[in-house]
Symmetry: C2
Subunit: 134 residues, 2 copies
DNA sequence: CATAAAGGTTTCCTTCACTGGAAGGTCAAG
DNA sequence: CTTGACCTTCCAGTGAAGGAAACCTTTATG
């Protein structure tokens, strides 16, 4: 299978697939013409990668998950540990993003949004400690 | 004021301040020794930048907000537009992240996390369309 | 007065996970 | 033969800095 077909089947851009080969996540064969030749195995691995990436796992996480996936004697605890650590990162990110959202929503609401220059959003960003407390 | 003092007062790393100078967000003077010399004005601006960045505004958003901040004849509607667009980006990110979290939490819960190799997390990532639907 | 530490300067390289483009080889159809 | 789709490699760039190297200036100490 050529890279175009694999791209279509996995939904990953060809560029990304070449990149994944470059960093040794996948090792397609090569045809006589120099084209990459992918086996089912490779396509399957790329699908796995795409799904793990779409869950936000880093490339290095993915490398670990793939290794575990291909290790029949793995302990599910190892996989769970990676996933839980990732879950905690997601939760931390959600908390930060939620706090941002709250502050920003509050400011946007407080801003008249008309032709006048008075703007609580800018006032807040310009805050000096002597004019503090919201 | 030297960069170290500014760094301490704003909480921004010196590296970041140099970077902000490089991309023309701030223009400190230079002393005879070549050191950057920051005025109160610059410190104020850097504080503004730090607060805007901590709300997740992109550098380019910050550039726009700074320009509006320094424009006495601005319309608050312009600021509000930038902030609302950012709020929408945050909401989109929150939605994506929340979906990720839900999927991942579900998988982590389903995984025994013991010495055995069976792992629903890997099983899900390895999904082929014929074994689909969770 | 000499020296050492602390803090400043520059430039270049690295990160993360791609993405885009240029220049060129290969293949199937008309 | 030509066109166009597909493939190849290589180079550069993204955002927002972080790190290291090599050097200069100021300040504190013996």
């Amino acid at each position: 299978m050529n890279i175009g077909d694999v791209s279509q089947r996995t939904g990953l851009p060809a560029k990304t697939i070449r990149y994944y080969e470059e960093i040794d996540l996948v090792r397609p064969l090569r045809g006589e013409n120099g084209y990459r030749r992918f086996r089912e195995h490779d396509v399957h691995k790329l699908g796995f990668l795409g799904r793990a990436r779409s869950l936000g796992f880093s490339i290095e996480d993915c490398r670990g998950l793939l290794a575990l996936y291909e290790d029949d004697s793995r302990a599910s605890a190892d996989v769970r540990r990676i996933a839980k650590a990732h879950l905690e990162r997601i939760d931390a990110k959600l908390a930060r993003l939620g706090a941002m959202r709250a502050t920003l929503a509050h400011l946007v609401e407080a801003c008249a949004g008309d032709h006048r220059p008075d703007c609580p959003i800018l006032a807040d960003l310009a805050l000096e400690e002597d004019s503090a407390d919201i």
